[in-house]
Symmetry: C2
Subunit: 377 residues, 2 copies
């Protein structure tokens, strides 16, 4: 396990959702303090930890010991790592483990891992006894800045991603920034795409700050904590404005329509493309498409691409190893992701850096000819 | 199919749950009108009907045709009848059917059947796309007066009944009183136990009315509609006071602590005992136990027993065919159902007909010696 530094630079973001309000703590050494933080906030004295086989050898013992010391009786379940774990089969296994641990309404399910573990364990926490307490201990950058905040949980089915789930807000999020040191460079970068996304949605100053400080974010320390806290704050603002995703929350999908289509086109094969990489390419495409529709200047698209390229993210469809299916197949995936209404698509477009908006009248034909131009083959 | 009478004596109960408010329509001929009633209230034009193999041959065609006529595109899934259908396996099948039918957020899942189908389909409606619209068309008396109202949904696991589920309020409940004519006499009686329960909780006048009018309730017509509407109103009142079952909603469990223990003791074998029969015996025991604790007069217990016996319900443990396990095993089941805190149990007790209350300090030892006295063997 990595050295754990003292809790000096810690940040707190509060998600003000009325009786579902909760704290996000961001900083070093939080896993070691997890038991204390949880015991201070939750009434129950039992907890079921759900984690994956990559994270378990690194951090499970520390979390377990911390809970134990705080007088909480922990149990554990270690699942295979990877997107395939977000299945009905594993959901059953998690529910079973939570019930076997005799977790009651005031006790907690704890997700220790990336977005996969968070989405799955959160779903189980939302349905066992029609809802028990839930604590997120996100360990990937993506989960610290995005998936652990906002209460969307779920699993995949053969019909598609995240099609079955519930809204179940966590009671506490503990984002230990030390654990990111063991994350692969590639996964860190993928999470960084979502950090940049918040700037591109509606925070041009944050994007400019990232352009200046990205190296420090990658190397750790104060800028990393700052970037994560700013991202959690941005996500929290959107979630509070629209908890159940009926409107403005859609902006969080900037870059995701193209991104999801590319993920589907590569059969969710993480060797070829992981989610954040798809989002990176998708955000560049969204800016280029906006400029093609004369909504934004081509310079903005260039600036976005330059930054994402600088940090090492893919920015073009041609950057994806292997062959891509033809444009028509990508278009089908887009049409499935978004509901097409008489030839029109809903899309997140932009008027420039930090000026994105929801457009619900994008002609399918425009998307198609744009994709033809961008397709590498 | 039974003759369907005209919609003359219809009753409407509104459940005033803010933005989750909904109507319960009670009366004859509602299945034939279902399409119209649904189309008037929901935006979507797709519906997935979930039903069981007993109900399907009787009412599925009529419902299907009614939806079709109203411009709603229906799909159907017919499941085995019985409590075992409330499983993870069938939940997956329902989610799959709902997704295959391309039901979106504003479209509906329709439960056509008793409480088993309602609980299962409601759960699926609560989790597919993190919640789609849900319509209950309850066909058993129990589901018309109890399970279709209030939004509790769920499935069973090997850890126990209803341990996994969500709160998901329906958008409409259509209780067609004609369909009760094909329900077996025994199932009708079992549902009647829950009707009587509302009187015993806090409506002494309603209990007296049932004593006078039960024959008409059984034979159909105005008194039946009246009894169902009064029951739905009573359940609605409790649900509105405590949607997520943190307090007063516990009163709905009058008779259920003993009842659940007896259901467990007979391994949920419906040939020996169905839920409402367990509740009937349980309500008599709750009144006798209250009298033994000098809370209520023994005459009240006698009056409750006399009425339930009159309608043909079992009222004594000895009425259950086959042998019962020893008192200690029943006691274990009670302790598992309720949380035991240092030798004390939470129980619904009563000070007389219609004067029930939640007692959270019932000594285990008192329950044990009471059960010893009542145990038939
Ligand atoms: N709920 C939401 O709002 C939301 C938002 C965005 C994404 N998501 C979901 O999140 C998932 C993606 O999340 P992810 O990128 O974290 O994937 P992930 O959970 O698969 O984690 C990525 C990889 O990193 C490993 N890992 C995690 N933390 C580590 C650490 N500290 N050290 C070493 N290895 C570590 C994991 O074992 C895994 O192999 C997707 O399923 C996506 O649908 C959900
Ligand atoms: N969600 C709640 O708040 C709540 C409340 C009480 C009970 N329940 C649940 O309800 C279930 C029991 O409900 P139930 O008693 O309706 O059981 P059920 O759904 O099994 O129905 C009883 C039997 O009657 C048959 N049937 C139903 N309608 C018929 C009709 N019109 N004609 C002929 N046959 C018909 C069914 O096929 C079944 O065989 C249990 O699982 C219980 O946990 C839930
Ligand atoms: Zn994303
Ligand atoms: Zn009941």
């Amino acid at each position: 396990m990595n050295a754990i530094t003292s809790a000096s630079d810690e940040r707190l973001v509060r998600v003000p959702l009325g009786e579902r309000a909760y704290d996000i703590l961001i900083g070093p050494g939080l896993i070691v303090r997890a038991g204390k933080e949880i015991a201070a906030r939750l009434m129950g004295r039992r907890a079921a930890i759900i984690t994956d086989e990559n994270v378990a050898p690194l951090y499970l013992d520390a979390l377990f010991a911390s809970l134990h010391e705080a007088g909480i009786q922990p149990s554990k379940l270690v699942l295979p790592a990877g997107e395939k774990t977000k299945s009905f089969e594993h959901l059953m296994a998690v529910c079973d483990a939570v019930l076997t641990a005799r977790v009651e309404r005031n006790d907690a399910v704890i997700a220790l891992g990336g977005g996969v573990i968070g989405d799955l364990a959160g779903f189980a926490a939302g349905i066992v006894r029609r809802g028990v307490r839930f604590v997120q201990v996100p360990t990937s950058l993506l989960s610290q800045v995005d998936s652990s905040v906002g209460g969307k949980t779920g699993i995949n089915t053969h019909h598609g991603k995240n099609l079955v789930g519930v809204f179940h807000q966590p009671d506490l999020v503990l984002a230990d920034t030390d654990v990111l040191n063991t994350l692969s460079e590639r996964e860190f970068r993928a999470g960084y795409a979502e950090v940049a996304k918040y700037g591109l949605i509606d925070k041009p100053d944050f994007f400019a700050w990232l352009e200046a400080n990205w190296k420090e974010v990658f190397s750790g320390g104060a800028a990393r904590i700052e970037a994560i806290a700013a991202s959690c704050q941005a996500k929290s603002d959107v979630v509070v404005a629209d908890e159940r995703e009926n409107g403005p929350r859609a902006l969080l999908n900037l870059g995701h329509t193209f991104g999801h289509a590319l993920e589907a086109a590569t059969a969710y094969d993480s060797r070829r493309l992981v989610h954040g990489e798809g989002v990176s390419i998708g955000m560049v495409l969204a800016h280029e498409f906006s400029s093609r529709l004369n909504l934004a200047s081509p310079d903005d698209a260039k600036r976005v691409e330059a930054h994402l390229k600088m940090v090492g993210l893919p920015t073009r469809m041609g950057d994806i190893p292997g062959e891509l299916p033809p444009v028509e197949v990508l278009m089908d995936a887009i049409a499935q992701d978004k509901k097409v209404k008489s030839g029109k698509l809903t899309f997140i477009l932009t008027r420039g850096i930090g000026q994105s908006f929801v457009a619900d009248d994008v002609p399918t034909s425009e998307v198609l000819s744009f994709l033809r131009e961008k397709h590498p083959q």
